[in-house]
Symmetry: C2
Subunit: 192 residues, 2 copies
């Protein structure tokens, strides 16, 4: 079955879930769908853990435990959270394109693998060039109106379907929230 995986580059839990993409792809066809977490929070009420300092502290520890268990790096940019709208527009521009997986990998590895500030155009450009992508063309797409509209539409679709945070997964109409629900997503996509 098809697995829809709504993500934002600014979400460390989405990054962790993305590092488990192969596991998800073994259970079903995964559609990575870029959406704006800020837009979701604006529509549904901001339930970001950072709004409750004690929860934010625990969540940081928890995310590092998951990264250690997965055996993947997790490094936060010095300034966090940061504005991810430009790289998210790049994701919307490339969604469905053959370069899309490479783009997502390049941005996530810069953001949470190395803790780089991808809101800085030069940092983003370097990350894309390092992955062999045409950085100039991709950065250019980020200001195109149809691309902006597409990202907004995907965000609105996710909100209408019940999303309130990231990552959000859908298997048909069943919604799962969080990196810590990957096993539920897999069970839903491929019942035992």
């Amino acid at each position: 079955m098809r697995i829809e995986f709504f993500f934002d580059f600014g979400s460390p839990a989405s990054y962790l879930a993305w590092t488990q993409l192969a596991k998800l792809e073994a259970a079903g066809e995964v559609a990575l769908r870029p959406f704006l977490l800020g837009g979701v929070f604006k529509a549904t009420g901001n339930n970001s853990p950072v709004t409750v300092p004690a929860k934010g502290k625990w969540m940081t520890e928890d995310l590092h435990r998951w990264a250690d268990a997965y055996g993947v790096p997790l490094k936060f940019p010095r300034s966090f959270p940061l504005n991810t709208i430009a790289p998210m527009r790049g994701a919307a521009a490339l969604e469905g394109d053959a370069r899309f997986p490479t783009y997502v990998q390049a941005v996530y590895e810069a953001m949470f693998g190395r803790g780089e500030d991808i809101s800085d155009p030069e940092t983003l450009r370097a990350a894309l060039k390092g992955a062999g992508l045409d950085a100039k063309a991709i950065l250019g797409s980020m200001t195109e109106e149809p691309v902006k509209a597409k990202l907004k539409a995907t965000t609105e679709e996710a909100i209408a379907r019940g999303a309130f945070g990231a990552p959000t997964f859908f298997v048909a109409d069943q919604m799962h929230f969080g990196n810590d629900r990957i096993d539920w997503v897999i069970r839903a996509a491929k019942p035992a």
Copy 2:
């Protein structure tokens, strides 16, 4: 190693975690510690999922998925959330007493096993009597000042140690939050 398990009868995730007590007890000595979730929210900021309707909707579905996976009943009282201060004071009164596990079981099974309104003294009395407990003595303890003070002190201790919700687990200084972190608690108490 010792596992501290802070719970409130009003928390369905605490109930679900409590149904897995045998699994936790296989990993370490479990100390069930009654605290007031309302007091925690008041101190740390209310991050109850019900404050964000879309999150509340998902969480209800998610809790039922966990109950089904555990093979345990999960029934919400008609009026929810409800005031659990009286039964929580009963728990504080019995903490460390031989009757404590029976008391916790009687209240949780009434609250989430059968969906009864345990804020009603007669309903609570019937649940305790049904479990063979001295309901009159226990209900009497709920108005005693030292009992009230003990529950408040445990709540303040949990807040000081970083709690922001329920259930909260501690293995020494390592804190875990949520029914969905039981496996992390077990790993912390009994490293492989």
